[in-house]
Structures are given as C-alpha cells and as structure tokens.
Amino acid sequence: MGRSFWFPLLGALGLTVLGESVALGFDPSPPAAAAEAGVVDGAFRTLTFLAIPVFAFVLSFLTYSALRFRRRPGEQADGPPVRGSRPVAVTWLGVTTALTLVLIGVGTVGLEELRHTARLSPDLVVRVEGMRWGWQVAYPEAGVSTNRELVLPVGRRIRVEVTSRDVVHSFWIPAFRAKIDAVPGMVTSVAFTPNRTGGYDQNPDLRVQCAELCGTGHSLMVIPVRIVTEEEFRQWLANQSRQM
C-alpha cells in the first residue's frame, strides 16, 4: 500500500467535508405541510449524510488510481501479483456491514415513528375513491362528498381510507410525504396531521396526484388540496351539505 495510500484518503476526507457542508446548507426537499413529513425529510437528510463519505471514498480512490497508476506509453510491465488481502477484505466487509446495519436502524426507527401516528385514533376520517381519472372525496360523518378538491382542517390527525373503483391508482400528497395505493377490492389507509394552512395556488405540492400508472388520463389525475382552519372547515362542510 505504501505512503501514497494517504493521498486518496485525504482526498476522500476533503470531498466528504465539502459534500457534508453542502448537504447541511442546502435542503432540496420541497416545503412540507404535515407533521409526519419531518420523519421522511429527516430520513432523507440522514441517508444523504451517510451516503456522502461512501461516495467520496470510492470516487477519490477511483480518480487517484486512474491518474496515478496509468500506464505510460510503451510501458509493458505488469502490476504486482497481489491477489488480495484478507485484512483488507475483512475490514471492508466489517465497515460495509456496520454501515448497512446503521441504515437499517435509521429506516426502522423512521418507520416506527410513522406507524405510531397511524395507530393513534384519528380526529377525522376521510374516504377517498380513485377512478379513471379523478378522485372522489367523502366526509362520512358530515355526509359530504366532492370530486373537486380535498379540504382538510389544520392541526388535526387525519386518516384517509383509500380505495379504487376500477384499476390501481396511488394517492399521493407530495407536501405531506404521504402515499398509498388505491387498490380495487381493498381499503388502504394513510395518516397525517396537516400543520399549516394553505392551498395548491401557494404550494403546488398541496395536491392529490395519482402516482400509479392508470391509463390515458393518468398525468391529469390531480386535484388540489386546501388546508384551512377548524372553523373554516366546519363552514365549508356546512356549505357543501347544503348544496348536496
């Protein structure tokens, strides 16, 4: 290995510091609008922090080797007949296994957090049915139903029960980081707690978008999401039931 081993190692360190500072200062996730989104965005950031040194290490050794050990024109000699090294392989195996266990740990903890919310009893149950190509939203307690928008009160734990009338769709609200397939013959569910008011006009990620290919109109299977105060929500429900 020799002394030259330290150059790519230093390179990896430098790249890691650079990468981590970029990752610390720059969060690519779009604005979130639900409490649970924090778990998903947090997991994304954690995985990014862990990925950077791995990427930096491999890239640094790859680039260094390609430049440093390049065959000069006319050179005929072979490299040294090194067939491997048990300590190196065992160390590598140990490090990658440890990293993988950390990743599994991060994922399991995040998933447990998400499930925790899902298990709590909801303040409001909304039923959503996907169909080619739109969404029918029903508020069973108020007897209200609409296919124009999904209106939700802020600060309430909401469970959406999802099904489909025809083919498989997927109910996705990007701003909530919440997604669950709408499967015919099955009721699936997803839970979230919207934590700021707003609508599609201010934040285009406040939308119900179909995320599973469902045929010709798949791209257009979108309705806006509007998060309002508890009072506005009750008002809206009352208006809707009057119109029905």
Partner: protein, 625 residues
C-alpha cells in the same frame, strides 16, 4: 468478415430460412386461430373474437415459425431418421439462419439487441420531446403512454439479453476452452424466439399499443386496449428464451470446462454468467405465470386479479416482482463480471479478492429472491412485510460493496491502460456508485414512501441499468471487438464516444433525482409548471446524449468493415478467448486447451493461465507481457 471466400448463399437466398419460418408461422397461426373459431362456432358463440383468436393462434404460429426457421431441419428430420442438413461453416448466410455456432448466435444477439437498444433510445427521444414543456404536447396522453411502455419493454429486453445472449454466448465456450455450448441447437432456438417478440411488440402499435408500462399491473392490463395481448405474449416468449439461455450456460460452465479449469480458476466473467444464469433458469417461470394469468383474465374472463370475482390485484405485483427484481441481477451481475474482467486485464494485475467476489455474486443470487416486496412498500400490502424487506434489500449493498473493493483493489498499483474499454469500465463504477447509493433511499421505507413512482426511481434505475449495465456493455463491445470481428476499432472515436456519453448521461439523469425530489411522478405526459425548467434541461441533455450513440455506431460499423486487422491478442490478456485467432475458427481452438493456473497470472514471470495445443502454444498464445 472481409477477406473470406464469398459463399454461395449470398443475396436474397440468405433470407430463405427466415421466409420459410414466416410462411410456416402464418400457417400455424391460421390453424390455431381457425380451430378456436370452429370451437366457438360449435359451442354457439360468435367465431369473431380477435383476442381469443390471437391468443389461440399464437402458440401454433410460434411453433410454425420455429419449425420453418430451423427446428424442422435440426430436430424433426433427426426424429424421422433422415440425415441432418449440413450447416454452412462460413459466410454471411450463417447470420440469417438457424446456426448452432455459439459465436454466430452471440453476434446475432449483439446486433439484434443493439438495434433494439437504438430503437428504444429513439422512443426515449420522443418521450423527452413530449416532456420538454408542461402541457400535453406532440404525442398526446395515449401516445405518450404507448411510447413510454414500448421504450420500457424494449430496454428491459435489451438489458436482460444483451450481455447474456450476446457476450456470454460468444465468450463462455471460448473462456472455458470448449468447442461450443452444451446444447448448441437449444442455443439457436433461444435466439430464434426473439424475432417473434420484436414482431409482436412493434405489431402492438398497429392496434393502438399498450399503455401499462412493462409492468402490466392488472386490472389496468385487463381493461387496456388490444395491443396489451401482443405485449403479454411477447414478454412470455422472451421469458422462455431467457430460461433456455440460463440452462445452456449452466450446463456449459458445469460440464464443458477444459481440463484443469477448476472452479477457482474460472475467469470472473464466467462466474458472473453462472450466477445470472441461476436466476434466469429459476425465476423466469414466476413472471410467466403472472403474464399467463393476465392473459387468461383478458381472453377467458378468469378472475385471478379481478376483485369482483374474488381475485387479488396485489397478488400479481408479488408474482411479477418475484421475477422482476431478481431480473435486475440478471442484468447487472454479468456487468460486474465484465467490468472486473476488463479492469484486471487492462490494469495487468490479478483480480483483487477473487474468492470474495465469487462469494458476493452467489450471495446476491440468494438475496435477490427475497427482496421483491420493496417494490410494494406503498401498495397497501401487509405492513409486517415492510421491515423484513427493507432489511434484505439493504443487505445487498454488502456483496455489492465487495465488487467495488475488488475493482479498487485491482486498480491500485496496477498498470492501467486508459483506453476506451477501460474508460467505460471506470465510467461504470462512477455511475453504478450513484445508482447503488440512491437505491438505499428507495429501500428505506420512510423515504421510499415519498420517492416511489417518482423521477427519483427513474433516475436510480437508469443509473444502475444504463449508466451501469449499458456502460459495461459498451466497455465489452470495445474490449472484445477485435476478438469478435478480427479488426480494431478507432481509439479516437472510442474516446470521443466515452466522454460524450459519460457527460451526456450524467447531465440527463442527475437532474432527474432533483425532479423526483421536487415531486415529479414517473410515467406522466404532463407535469406541474414549476418543473418546467428542469425538464427542459433534461430533454436537451437527452438529445445531446443520443448523439453519442451515433459515434458508437459509426465506429463499430466502419471499423468492422475497414478497421485495421487486429492481432489475436491485442491486449496481451491471459484468458483463453485471446489464445486463439480473431475471430476464432469453427470449434474455437486447434487443440483442447489445458488450464494450469489462475486466469490472472499478471506479474508472475513464467506463469500462464492455460496451454493451448500439444506443443504448449499456438498462434501467439500465452503471452503475459
């Protein structure tokens, strides 16, 4: 091919076997569908039911095609005690007929699937044209779905078959020192199953295409237009070909190794083919059942996946991915093998941690069978499956990491020849590193909930398959070009191709991660206006990337026809395929080779991997530099 005596069957006569196949195929189709029509008539139904007639006519049509194109001559005549017709040993006619020479079949696969890859690339350009700006554009919604679906299945077929069908066919018998594969006729059969696949897929367009993507999830696949049946039958046929290929490679590697070629002396590419073949022999049946039951739901009104009759749409997804996830290792493990092989020979060092890599390949095969449900984290499947499948999926990064150790360890203190194949091999490592790392984000359930079915996934799998496998394919295409054609490619055009493709690839697919994070769903013709800029950029980069393939095709075609004649072993490599003339003669070696040492005897003066011929060498053999 220049410099060879011109054989008699040139010109249109070369196409006679194919013509006969088409004729027999049409007859077979008429018999099958006619029979179905008669049965329908006799049972009091209207005989005209296009899909039923298609599904009933197809199997007999396929058999007719295979009989016409060569099975008659090779099997049936033998069963009837007739002498087999001799096969031309030379000339371009071999490439257009049923031919049992593994090198001919390898070239048939390579040319066919390169053409399919270029066609699939053109379809991708159409997609990027539609996606250049938000709103519904040139293709329209239905048109986009049809083009996207066809692009998907074309590229999946290319990814499954181009390395195994192409390079493994050409190289496995050579590298194990055999005359041919274990079952040469079966090998030819597996190639001649491919033209019907291409015909059906292109034919589906005439019936309005299919719009389910290559995944064909029911109930969408059941309510979808008629083109869907063409697609399902094509996929089924392709799978059959893949099973036969896997069987053949396993039998060849197990049974036909040259004397002295023990398992611990197998070149790493052979190990990778062995591992991938285990998967294609044993996993493909599951997708065959999934597709067959999809077809039955369409044409026979069964309810495998129809909830109204008690069927379960999710069951299909499990069956489908039980094959289709292992299938990505059919694609990538041979790519690992190719890249490690090229790195060892062009860095002139023994492969680092050889045994660990073999262990890694076999671990990947095992794990590949128990990760499928990570495609279903948001499907509504039983939640108790989430953690186990997240765990198994993330465990795959351990053997994959071992492949990287082998690559980096071999490069270290090597004498690296930075030529075109080596550049593509290094490009593979860079691209696959990104593809692999971003895979973690999709194995992790919380992040997958957000990224599932977005452009993050599109970017991830293009990094693994296009930036990974296809870069390995290109590395292989240059590295073995002199062996296959007997001529040398243009190194200048090759380097231009590499840098153009490497830059174009990363400019196209890196921003797709961004688009995915910012909420762009995959398989859409239209998207949110806020995503306009990134999509315009991706489209322009994609058109730029497409240009690099023109350089590739020009280099390949021109060099094959006019390139300088290559030496038998231009890289001074140790493995057996280089110890015979380029291209190798019928039967591969003048004498059965004798393997005496590891495949990578670099830096060991006097040591050789194998001895060809009774005198211990022939036509420039055993040069270790």
């Amino acid at each position: 091919m220049a410099g060879k005596p011109v054989p008699t069957d040139v010109g249109l006569r070369m196409l006679l076997p194919v013509g006969r196949g088409l004729l027999f195929g049409a007859l077979g189709f008429l018999v099958g569908s006619g029979l179905a029509a008669v049965i329908r008539l006799l049972t009091g139904r209207t005989p005209w039911a296009p899909e039923v007639l298609l599904a009933a006519g197809y199997p007999s049509g396929l058999i007719g095609w295979l009989l016409g194109v060569g099975m008659w001559d090779y099997w049936v005549r033998e069963w009837f005690g007739l002498p087999r017709r001799p096969e031309p040993a030379d000339g371009p006619g071999r490439f257009f007929r049923f031919c049992t020479d593994h090198k001919v079949i390898g070239v048939q696969y390579l040319v066919t699937f390169t053409a399919m890859m270029l066609l699939g690339g053109l379809l991708a350009m159409l997609m990027r044209l539609e996606l250049m700006a938000p709103g519904v554009g040139v293709l329209g919604l239905a048109g986009y779905n049809a083009v996207m679906s066809l692009h998907g299945i074309f590229m999946i077929a290319v990814a499954v078959a181009i390395l195994l069908g192409g390079f493994a066919n050409f190289l496995v018998p050579l590298m194990v020192g055999a005359e041919d594969v274990a079952f040469p006729r079966l090998n030819a059969l597996s190639y001649w199953l491919i033209p019907p696949v291409a015909l059906l897929l292109v034919g589906s367009l005439l019936l309005g295409g299919f719009e389910t993507g290559w995944t064909a999830y029911p109930p969408l696949a059941v309510v979808n237009p008629r083109g869907e049946s063409f697609f399902l039958l094509a996929f089924l046929t392709f799978g059959f070909s893949s099973i036969l290929g896997g069987l053949n490679f396993l039998a060849t590697i197990i049974g036909l190794r040259a004397p002295g070629l023990t398992w611990s002396r197998l070149p790493i590419f052979i190990w990778s083919v062995f591992a991938a073949s285990l998967i294609s022999l044993t996993a493909t049946q599951f997708v065959a059942f999934a597709l067959l039951s999809d077809i039955l739901d369409r044409v026979a009104g069964t309810v495998f996946y129809n909830p109204v009759g008690g069927g379960k749409p999710l069951l299909y997804q499990h069956l489908f991915w039980f094959y289709s996830h292992p299938a990505v290792y059919i694609m990538i493990v041979p790519a690992f093998g190719i890249v490690l092989e090229i790195i060892a020979h062009l860095a002139r060092k023994p492969l680092f941690a050889y045994r660990w890599v073999v262990g890694a390949f076999l671990t990947i095969v095992f794990l590949s069978f128990i990760v499928w449900a990570h495609h279903l984290f948001t499907s509504g499947m039983d939640e108790r499956l989430h953690v186990p499948f997240m765990v198994t999926t993330e465990l795959i990064s351990i053997p994959t990491g071992m492949v990287f150790l082998a690559a980096l360890g071999t490069l270290w203190e090597g004498r690296i020849l930075l030529n075109t194949p080596m550049l593509f091999a290094l490009g593979f490592l860079f691209n696959f590193l990104i593809g692999g790392i971003t895979g973690i984000f999709l194995a992790d359930v919380p992040t997958d909930i957000q990224f599932q079915d977005t452009y993050f996934v599109v970017a991830h799998f293009h990094y693994t398959i296009m930036g990974g496998e296809i870069f390995a394919f290109l590395a292989a295409a240059y590295y073995w070009f002199p062996k296959i054609t007997g001529r040398m490619f243009s190194e200048r055009l090759g380097k231009l191709h590499f840098w153009w493709a490497f830059l174009g690839f990363n400019l196209t697919f890196l921003p797709m991660f961004w688009a995915g994070v910012r909420g762009m769903t995959r398989r859409v013709a239209d998207y949110q206006p806020v995503l306009a800029d990134v999509n315009l950029f991706i489209s322009l980069a994609a058109f730029f990337l497409a240009g690099s393939f023109v350089v590739f095709v020009v280099n390949m075609v021109y060099s094959w026809a006019r390139g300088p004649v290559a030496a038998a072993n231009p890289w001074g490599a140790t493995t057996l395929e280089w110890q015979t003339s380029s291209p190798p003669p019928h039967g591969n070696f003048p004498h059965r080779p004798n393997v005496v040492d590891s495949p990578y005897t670099y830096g060991m003066p006097g040591a050789v991997h194998a001895v060809v011929g009774p005198a211990g060498g022939s036509d420039g053999a055993n040069k270790t530099g």
